[in-house]
Assembly symmetry: C2
Homo-oligomer: 282 residues x 2
């Protein structure tokens, strides 16, 4: 997050190690430590904390609003081009008649993804963020009002394609679903741990391309088990259909019988009796 | 950039259209327009502008420092997993004996890429940004001091994998090189225009995977011609070697005879007599 990374400080907000590695301070964890006369930096951290605290409060209002109406909201996040929209297109088509899926689309520019999801039969609200790097709870609050989803439905919030900033912003979702495409390489969970740590479900996507890549699925799964031990991990190809049924099973499981979503933190985990038949991270 | 997108405002910083599209205001373009009593929002914009202005001033110092020493700095940016490190590994190996390449590695966590580039024979400084989403001019200033690159060398700054935030931060580079992997889909230039607009060279990577994808190279190139008409566009596969020679030719061309980099904005364009034999965006 730009406002926490020390870029307004007079001095670099970090320290060098002997091996040439540079460790940048995290504004949240080290705010007190860094508050030694660098006024600009301290102000940056304070504002960032205020932004996040305000966002969290609004996200809780969104969560309450959704729970009262029996609507399940998912926050779908990934790098650009990991296959979020393709997954949603197939899901909307395959589960038409079973689930009502509404979509909030986040992109810097264009309504291309909104057009695709409307063509797939969904109600959609597009949010264009301009230079913005993530959706926040205010944007989602207003999009929910406009979308007006029916009780018992699923609202998928397709975040801006970005494996960094969206991890910090709670939107009021019931669950976080993070996509990692096999084309990106197996090292992404360890290189972008904040995003993967926050995931309830990790979909390892585009598995139909595995024969043409050097992707080490075992390594990726083992890393995820360390970084995000509570997350379910499912390999899937939305194009070929491999593993797609397990994603649908996961969706059905997080939808309680009456359409009431489970509160955050009560997702079916990898060890529970209701666990989907996915890869288990431990 | 988090601090410009209005997330601290009391009201959503945008407006809805009849078709359900939501347009978010850009803090820079609409700062005056938005300054109507929403104190928190106004303060956010002001701070963001200060952060960027301060960064720009420091970036200019970096640029002067590099020019005085005859060092060519490139800012390498892309989504996570678009192949930045693989391209650099091959470049360092193929051009060993011709170019001295130093590397500044930006990642949220790990020194995996630094290890790879050291194994490829390069001097490397790793920057770990924690929750941070981009490198800034202060980080690069200190990394340059530590790297201490020789005159006539090339310094490649491998930015944090993020197609959004790094676009806003000048690091003092001579040129910006943006990678777009064919696995991400052809719509990325129009969906993330700020990044592509800032590019001097766009490398369309992983072209060895084209036979297994629905990627429309003509559409991508046509979109780039509109968004970034001054940029050279080169399709390349660092794994298979397709097009790699044209990337090396581009590198040789931006290195002036005495090793003095061209000032920003004087990169060999797509229409000049010295244009590399790449795809021409017009």
């Amino acid at each position: 997050m730009c406002a926490t990374c020390g870029c307004a400080g007079d001095e670099p907000a970090g320290h060098a190690h002997e091996d040439g590695t540079w460790h940048e301070y995290d504004g949240h964890e080290h705010a007190g430590e860094r508050d030694h006369g660098q006024h600009t930096h301290a102000r940056t951290v304070t504002l960032a904390e205020k932004v996040l605290a305000r966002n969290d409060a609004l996200a809780q209002q969104n969560r309450d609003w959704l729970r009262e109406r029996g609507i399940l909201a998912l926050n779908l996040m990934s790098s650009p081009g990991a296959g979020k929209t393709t997954l949603l297109e197939r899901t909307a088509a395959d589960l038409a008649g079973e689930l009502v899926v509404g979509v909030i689309e986040g992109d810097q520019e264009t309504a291309l993804d909104a057009d695709r999801m409307r063509a797939a039969g969904c109600q959609v609200v597009q949010i264009n963020t301009g230079t913005g790097c993530h959706l926040d709870a205010v944007m989602v609050r207003d999009a929910l009002t406009k979308l007006d989803p029916p009780g018992g439905s699923v609202v998928v919030i397709e975040n801006v394609g970005n494996l960094v900033c969206p991890a910090l912003f709670d939107l009021g979702e019931a669950h976080r679903v993070v996509l990692a495409s096999v084309t990106e390489g197996a090292d992404k969970p360890v290189k972008y741990p904040h995003m993967f740590r926050s995931a309830d479900l990790v979909l390892v996507t585009k598995t139909d391309l595995l024969p043409y890549l050097d992707f080490d699925l075992a390594r990726c799964t083992a890393d995820l088990a360390k970084i995000s031990p509570g997350a379910t991990v499912l390999p899937v190809s939305a194009r070929a259909g491999d593993g797609i049924g397990r994603w649908y099973d996961w969706l059905r499981q997080v939808l309680a019988p009456g359409g009431t979503p489970l509160p955050r933190g009560q997702a079916p985990g990898p060890h529970g009796p209701e666990s989907p038949d996915g890869l288990r991270p431990r």
